[in-house]
């Protein structure tokens, strides 16, 4: 008997029900004017942005102008090197009128760009108490994830591989641990380079994937966005359907070795 169902499969974060499980970014596009078509092709409902000082010499650019109005903005705290800076950036993003979602990103190692788990947890706690819907970017570490749960995070966003590397699910084993142990949506963020990798993450039971670089730097970003949207849907459907049997050494060996329950008779 199967009790899983595909009906009404929504991802609820911070009280918002999402039907798309692909989050996209706005960084690294050759031209921001591609963003509306990318967003449309991906089917995504959540899009990340960053907050930066206005370049006083060239103040005109405004990424928000390119984002379809129905999309939920997920500002990140990129540039923050400490918990305090992340909190400051989050409050500024909220003051900018873009809602109360925040992707916490605290990185003080500029070579590997790996997130600081302790600072991330502290910033998460402060902001969750202030009413933010906090989605922290993290290394897939079980203890950090538990700290984030205790801190009031709305989801956890483990990296599949270091940011921007497109190397795929190098941390698959550890992400699997989080999916098993953590009672929050696990959204794979960073490292996903190909639709097949996003699909794999979803098959494993990830709640969503965030893909920026792989779409923005593709030869045809709009077509790649569509491919990612389809891959995420396929992976989710596969997860909900339950994988069929795979022949393994154990299964084959079972009949060959001596019976373990023969003592019970029939």
């Amino acid at each position: 008997m199967t009790h899983d169902t595909h009906d009404n499969d929504t991802l609820v974060i911070g009280g918002t029900a999402l039907t798309s499980r692909l989050f996209i970014g706005t960084g690294k596009y050759g031209t921001d004017s591609l963003i509306p078509d990318v967003a449309g092709a991906s089917g995504s409902q959540v899009i990340t942005v960053a907050l930066r000082r206005v370049d006083l010499a060239n103040p005109k650019s405004n990424v928000l102008a390119h984002i379809p109005p129905h999309m939920r903005l997920l500002p990140n705290t990129s540039g923050a090197r400490t918990a305090e800076e992340a909190v400051r950036i989050a409050r500024l993003a909220q003051a900018a009128g873009c809602g109360n979602w925040i992707k916490i990103e605290v990185i003080s190692d500029s070579r590997f760009l790996l997130p600081d788990g302790y600072a991330t947890a502290r910033a998460t706690e402060t902001l969750a108490k202030e009413g933010f819907v906090v989605l922290p970017y993290m290394n897939p570490d079980l203890y950090v994830a538990r700290d984030l749960v205790n801190a009031g995070a709305a989801a956890v966003m483990p990296l599949g591989a270091p940011i921007g590397t497109n190397r795929g699910l190098r941390t698959a084993e550890m992400i699997g641990v989080l999916i098993e142990e953590i009672d929050l949506p696990v959204i794979v963020d960073a490292g996903i380079g190909k639709p097949s990798q996003a699909c794999e993450a979803m098959e494993m039971g990830a709640a969503a994937c965030l893909v920026n670089t792989a779409i923005a730097t593709a030869g045809n970003p709009v077509a790649m966005a569509r491919a990612f949207g389809e891959a995420v849907r396929a992976g989710r459907a596969a997860y909900l359907s339950g994988a069929g049997p795979v022949a393994t050494g154990t299964a084959d060996g079972a009949s060959a070795s001596s019976p373990l329950t023969g003592f019970l008779g029939e």
Partner: protein, 430 residues
């Protein structure tokens, strides 16, 4: 979400009619599918407890053995029970220590506790399980803690299987060097429970249900759970027992969770179980526990026959008792050459009543079926290609595992208790 919430959520789903409907609809193919999965849902667990799965025990056994060897190696940890007192104020209808049974009541003195301890140490056993009846006036938490302090120099690991305690009382036991507790809910069927426990403090279903959590919170390193199979439909009670373990493991990840599989068996004149649990059923429960929770310990007591226990060794069992007496003072009495033939087993709440007429001042809580000594048990384990482990664990720090880690696990990064903070943003669901 407390365990009580889990029970309330699942009780209607596994009531007689929906449970039967699920079982009828489950096929051998469903079982095969579950056996290929890495992570099992509660419905997968039910599938493993189904009649369809009963036809697939051999495949389940191979999966269980593989998981057990992966997590525990080929080892069986040995322990033995020490009954401190059989005074009891409860009237559990299935128990030999029932307050209404007119049996000699006894509580060990300091000298007797040490005599029992020395007799056990002489057999090589190092893991000890302390048991009492439920009589706070006679064998209160202070008495149990005192006994633990007497025995701590002799045993690297002390566990208790006693009545439900409060947070502070579990902390007292942890402080006295006790690192494990076992608590059998007997049955998770909240409607049936009061019928079986007509009087006494144990009548409080909810207080008993939450006892393992209180123990975990107090810093107990290992927590054992069990249902007395046969009181209710064993499939339902096994299901809830496993859910309880899974819930506890997730909430208190530093705890070693284990399951015991005591079962009632019919015999003349004694309490008649409502549901019989055959050897075949027992094996199915053990395999389902193992496959559902690969990292959980599984304990099989000497309530089971020697030949069956030996056959269970490769199926997922990790702990077995040996050299057992379920009578107060039974170890030293035996050492003095008196009653070797009446060896009995631990697991406090699970008491067949056969032994109650025994008028020698050492009435057993229930009759055991495997009287083998520690040496004989170790030899039987070795004969199956497994290693008997006498000492698996010793606290590195004085004062034991303590509350530090227990408390740390339930705090926010800034050190506040979880749940005590100001209203947070709406939480998400996966």
């Amino acid at each position: 979400m407390s365990m009580y919430d889990v029970v309330r959520e699942w009780t209607p789903r596994v009531a007689d009619a929906p449970l039967r409907a699920f079982m009828d609809a489950t096929t051998a193919g469903d079982v095969a599918r579950v056996l290929r999965k890495e992570r099992l849902s509660p419905y997968d667990l039910l599938t493993l407890l189904s009649p369809a799965a009963a036809t697939q025990l051999e495949s389940m056994a191979h999966r269980a053995r593989e998981l057990t060897v992966r997590h525990f190696g080929r080892t069986i940890q040995l322990f033995t029970p020490l009954y401190l007192s059989n005074h009891c104020t409860n009237q559990c209808r299935y128990c030999g220590f029932n307050a209404r049974n007119h049996i000699p009541r006894q509580r060990l003195t300091d000298e007797e506790i040490l005599a029992e301890g020395r007799a056990i140490v002489a057999t090589g056993l190092r893991h000890l399980l302390l048991l009492t009846g439920d009589a706070r006036q006679v064998s209160g938490p202070e008495y149990i803690a005192h006994a633990a302090r007497l025995l701590a120099p002799l045993f690297p690991s002390l566990s208790v299987e006693v009545y439900s305690l409060t947070d502070a009382e579990y902390a007292l036991l942890v402080d006295a060097g006790i690192d494990g507790m076992t608590m059998f809910q007997e049955t998770y069927n909240e409607a049936l429970y009061p019928e079986l426990h007509p009087a006494g403090p144990k009548r409080d279903y909810h207080f008993r249900l939450d006892a393992p959590e209180r123990a975990a919170r107090a810093g107990m390193r290992s927590v054992g759970l069990g249902a007395l199979l046969g009181l209710d439909d064993w499939r339902r009670d096994a299901f809830f027992t496993a859910l309880h373990g899974h819930w506890l493991q997730r909430r208190y990840p530093y705890v070693d969770v284990s399951f015991s599989v005591p079962r009632l068996r019919p015999h003349a004149g004694a309490f008649q179980p409502a549901h019989t649990v055959s050897d075949h059923d027992l094996v199915q429960v053990i395999l389902a526990y193992r496959i559902f929770m690969p990292s959980a310990g599984i304990t099989v007591s000497t309530r089971e026959r020697a030949d069956l226990r030996d056959n269970l060794i490769p199926l997922g069992v990790t702990r077995m008792s040996a050299g057992v007496s379920t009578a107060v003072g039974g170890h030293a009495v035996r050492e003095q050459g008196g009653h070797a033939a009446r060896a009995q087993d631990g697991h406090a709440a699970h008491k067949d009543v056969e032994g109650q007429g025994d008028g020698d001042g050492a009435t057993p809580q229930f009759e055991i079926s495997d009287p083998r000594s520690a040496d004989a048990m170790a030899a039987a384990i070795a004969a199956r290609g497994y290693q008997p482990v006498y000492k698996d664990w010793e606290s590195v720090l004085d004062g034991g595992y303590g509350c530090g880690i227990a408390c740390a696990a339930r705090r926010t990064p800034s050190g506040e208790p979880v749940g005590a903070s100001t209203p947070a943003a709406p939480r998400a669901t996966a």
